[in-house]
């Protein structure tokens, strides 16, 4: 009886235009007040401090060098990820052996593994430590810019592969068939027909890899040694209490990122791929089975040696830790483990809170964007603005938010942390839900209205059931993203989430043995794996919605 009344009340309320207007307005105001403005305005409030950098030529030089390094690494890694990821995606989609479904699953592993644990794993694999030797005997790649490049390549690789696999699966193979019937060898058909059609996905995967590289902080701190890119410079400046350099580099990173992304979005579709020139003889040779086999072997070798094995290397210290009897300390919270469980608990608390808040405030925004309830102009503007936090490097976002919310000292640290994670995860949720709602034929809602359903009932009986899997998937992705977030956390608060604690362990700020670090990473991986397994179980075989 009570349930019926609540539904009826909500139905009645939803029929009133003023109530709907209030919901959409509140959602929009919340977005501007908590998601969009603080990351942009915070930095600008301290613009007067930026001059400090120019007073010190060596500091200026360091700042420029760090910023350049960030963008050079991001561009290099993004290009290499596509060059390496495209053949792998091709193999997964077009290959004929059953092993490929295993490779398809394994290719996701660096995506599932939290980036801090990935950082530690790569450091162990390529450099080793005093206690844990690298499989190469001595350090093959010492901490520094090369290890940073390897790290960024590894964690962006699965993103690129996943985007391109999706694109190839959606691709209408008939275009390639048409090309073959016109006399084109398979290599020519792929180069002149398939790749140009896949251009939007190639651009999207470049942007994703670029954004990830630019934003990554925690794992980069672990493997960079004395090398500084933008996020490390900001982190070091923050730790040293140097607000001016922190603000300047953050602002420059934001401005250049925004310019690059806008340029890619505008010019990317206009970019023409070279399809007119054809070299039939050479491309026929490149189409031969032997060449394709060699290409597939190289792709698989790159994936195994540069991506998968380094990502999983952290299992060795974890297993050694278990074998050495550390597990007892772990479960009773002895030594470093008390702090670890507290941090892990904080990570999941923040993740759950942020997920809940995103669903509550993000859903009306998603409906606003997808259904264009207030004309076409405002939703289009909101659609673009929702992406802004995505292009801001997370440490710069955290620094900006710290400055902005510092003007409201009554807000506790945990509140700042929630706001920062909310800003970072909000765009993912709204994008996913807006896309899911857009896929629903508007006539289904119209049919429901004509049959007498009020707006809340339409939402409850039509939109929600048809998007529930996207909702669950979006929620799980947000949780995983929040738990993984390091840069913004470092910048906005002194609280230690699990990834931040692990960075402290690796940097020696907290005394933890390599075996303990390995085990801490392993637990984080296991919990993340459980979260993503839930996602796979929810999403698998559930159709479009």
């Amino acid at each position: 009886m009570t349930g019926f009344n609540i539904t009826k009340i909500l139905d009645t309320l939803s029929s009133k235009p003023v109530v709907r207007y209030m919901i959409y307005s509140s959602s929009t105001i919340f977005f501007f007040a908590f998601i969009l403005i603080p990351p942009i305005l915070g930095i600008l409030l301290k613009w007067n401090l930026m001059g400090q950098v120019f007073e010190d030529p060596s500091l200026t030089s360091k700042a420029i060098s760090a910023i350049s390094a960030s963008f050079l690494i991001a561009i290099l890694v993004s290009v290499v990820d596509i060059v390496a990821g495209l053949p792998m995606a091709w193999l997964i989609v077009r290959g004929r052996t059953r092993l490929l479904s295993i490779i398809d699953t394994l290719a996701d592993i660096p995506f599932i593994v939290p980036t801090v644990t990935l950082g530690y794993s790569l450091k162990l694999f390529w450099s080793g430590t005093e206690e844990i030797t690298s499989p190469f005997g001595s350090s093959l790649v010492s901490p520094g810019w090369l290890l940073v490049i390897l790290l960024h390549f590894t964690f962006s690789y699965p993103v690129v592969v996943r985007v391109l696999v999706g694109a190839l699966q959606d691709y209408k193979y008939v275009y390639e068939e048409a090309s073959r019937t016109l006399g084109a060898a398979s290599f020519t058909a792929a180069r002149t027909v398939t790749l140009p059609i896949l251009k939007p996905s190639l651009i999207a995967s470049f942007i994703l890899a670029f954004a990830r590289s630019l934003s990554e902080t925690g794992a980069t701190v672990m493997v960079a040694g004395t090398f500084e890119n933008g996020p490390i410079f900001i982190n070091n400046a923050r730790a040293a209490g140097q607000e001016g350099p922190m603000v300047l580099v953050s602002l420059i990173l934001i401005l250049i990122s925004a310019t690059i992304f806008a340029t890619i979005r505008i010019l990317g579709p206009k970019l023409r791929m070279p399809v007119k020139r054809i070299w039939p003889n050479t491309e026929r040779v490149l189409s031969k089975t032997g060449i394709a086999t060699a290409r597939n072997s190289i792709s698989t070798a790159i994936f195994l040696i540069l991506v998968l094995i380094p990502s999983l290397f952290v299992a060795f210290p974890a297993v050694s830790a278990i074998a050495s009897g550390t597990l007892n300390d772990v479960f009773i919270g002895a030594g470093v483990w008390q702090g670890y469980w507290q941090s892990l608990g904080l990570s999941y608390f923040i993740g759950a809170t942020v997920t809940f808040l995103n669903v509550v405030v993000g859903l009306p925004m998603a409906i606003l964007i997808a259904r264009k309830r207030v004309g076409r102009v405002l939703p289009a503007i909101l659609d673009s603005l929702v992406n802004v936090p995505l292009i801001i490097p997370s440490i710069a976002l955290g620094a900006s938010m710290r400055i902005f919310w510092g003007n409201f000292p009554f807000i506790p640290e945990i509140g700042l942390l929630i706001f920062a994670h909310l800003s970072i995860t909000y765009p993912y949720f709204v994008r996913a839900m807006a896309a899911a709602i857009e896929r629903i034929d508007i006539d289904l809602e119209n049919a429901s209205r004509i049959l007498g359903a009020r707006p809340f009932t339409v939402f409850r009986t039509i939109i929600l059931p048809m998007t529930k899997y996207s909702l669950f998937a979006g929620a799980v992705m947000m949780l995983a993203r929040s738990i993984d977030e390091t840069g913004a956390t470092l910048a906005v608060t002194t609280l230690k989430t699990a990834p931040v604690l692990l960075v402290d362990w690796v940097k020696g700020n907290v005394l933890a043995t390599p075996l303990e670090i390995g085990l801490g990473c392993a637990f984080l991986i296991i919990f993340s794996f459980i979260v993503l397994l839930v996602l796979r179980l929810i999403v698998r075989g559930k159709g479009r919605y």
Binding site: V174, Y175, L182, V275
Partner: protein, 368 residues
């Protein structure tokens, strides 16, 4: 020498569970316009794609110009292919689409340009050379797809439901243009369609397919006038089916229909007592008012009538409760009204007798 020869070709999908093409053998002659006709899912597109090299047969051989091509990739078979969805490259304009084949074959620029211009002028789209596929109408896209296939210089043209996506009027215009083009260029064409009117209008010969098998091959006239299979009789043109038994076989065959109605047919291939199906086309019936004594007279009432412009179609319920359709030219003879008592009759040599199908008549005539 036959241009295309298919010998005992089979193709299975789904781990062998679905037999798309079942032991098919076929010969298509040089410069012939040949159609593969059948309902959706009968295997005609699969057969076409096997010939093009887009699929490999599980059994049998395919010959083009006398050479076996089973292991030859599509780019080396020298066939032109027009896809059902046209498959125009969306990132290339009309000109680039049409000249794609010549460029791939490394023809010199002058030759490629000349061929491109000729092909586009032939289909009257040279002025749209700069347009992209999304800027073209369905009919234009079909013509660009055709000119692209022809630009490679191939003498063999494979067309997979090339008119299927067009509206009825455009389809009628383009099908004639298609045949004219193929004949003017002296090509051999293999055209897949589910539209029997289209196949009959443009083909030299037609193969009717069903469930992966070829039921009959012949000219449109042969298939219409002399169907060898009950499915072909139903699929080509229109038919009335009356069930009965062979009563007597002498100079003519006497068939007893339901309700002790006896008719005579010229076909003497069936045995006495055999269960049969008698097929008569609606336009071969004669219809008169009242009860008249006629050869093969069937008595009944007009239950429905439809005016179709050049024809009037009468649905007549016979005395034995069977229903038949009679089609008469509008401007010839008298018109009848609903509930009029009529005599419907047919000539013994204008009917066809088939053995009653073992799986039942409905199953045998089903188009899925």
């Amino acid at each position: 020498m036959p241009e295309i020869k298919v010998v005992n070709v089979s193709k299975r999908f789904g781990g062998g569970k679905i037999v798309a093409v079942d032991n098919v053998s076929l010969q298509i002659r040089d410069k012939e316009y040949f159609s593969l006709l059948g309902p959706s899912g009968c295997g005609k597109t699969t057969l076409l794609r096997l010939i093009a090299g887009l699929l490999q047969p599980d059994e049998g051989e395919i010959y083009i110009e006398g050479k076996i091509v089973n292991n030859v990739p599509p780019e080396d078979r020298d066939v032109g292919f027009v896809f059902q969805t046209y498959a125009l490259f969306p990132h290339m304009n009309t000109w680039d689409n049409v000249t794609y084949g010549p460029r791939v074959k490394a023809w010199n620029e002058e030759k490629s340009e000349r061929i491109g211009r000729e092909m586009l002028e032939m289909v009257r789209l040279y002025e749209r050379a700069d347009a992209f596929p999304h800027e073209l109408s369905g009919g234009m896209m079909q013509r660009v797809a055709l000119s692209r296939a022809l630009a490679t210089g191939s003498k063999l043209l494979l067309l997979d439901e090339p008119l299927g996506a067009l509206d009825a009027k455009i389809r009628l215009e383009l099908r004639n243009e298609l045949r004219r083009l193929v004949k003017d260029l002296e090509l051999t064409a293999m055209h897949v369609t589910h539209d029997q009117g289209e196949a009959m209008a443009i083909s030299d010969r037609i193969a009717v397919m069903r469930k992966g098998k070829i039921l009959q091959v012949g000219t449109p006239q042969e298939l219409y006038m002399n169907p060898q299979h009950i499915f072909v009789a139903n699929f080509i043109g229109e038919s009335n089916f009356l069930e009965g038994h062979v009563e007597e076989v002498e100079k003519e065959t006497t068939i007893e229909l339901r309700g002790e109605i006896f008719v005579n047919v010229s076909d003497r291939t069936k045995k006495k007592g055999e269960r049969v199906v008698l097929m008569i086309r609606p336009e071969t019936f004669a219809i008169e008012r009242g009860r008249k004594k006629k050869i093969n007279a069937l008595y009944g009432r007009v239950e429905r009538l439809r005016f179709e412009g050049t024809n009037i179609r009468y649905e007549v319920r016979l005395e034995n409760e069977d229903r038949i359709e009679v089609s008469r030219p509008t401007l010839v003879g008298e018109w009848f009204n609903m509930n009029d008592e009529v005599t419907v009759s047919f000539s013994p040599d204008k009917s066809y007798v088939f053995t009653y199908p073992s799986k039942g008549l409905r199953e045998e005539l089903a188009v899925e």
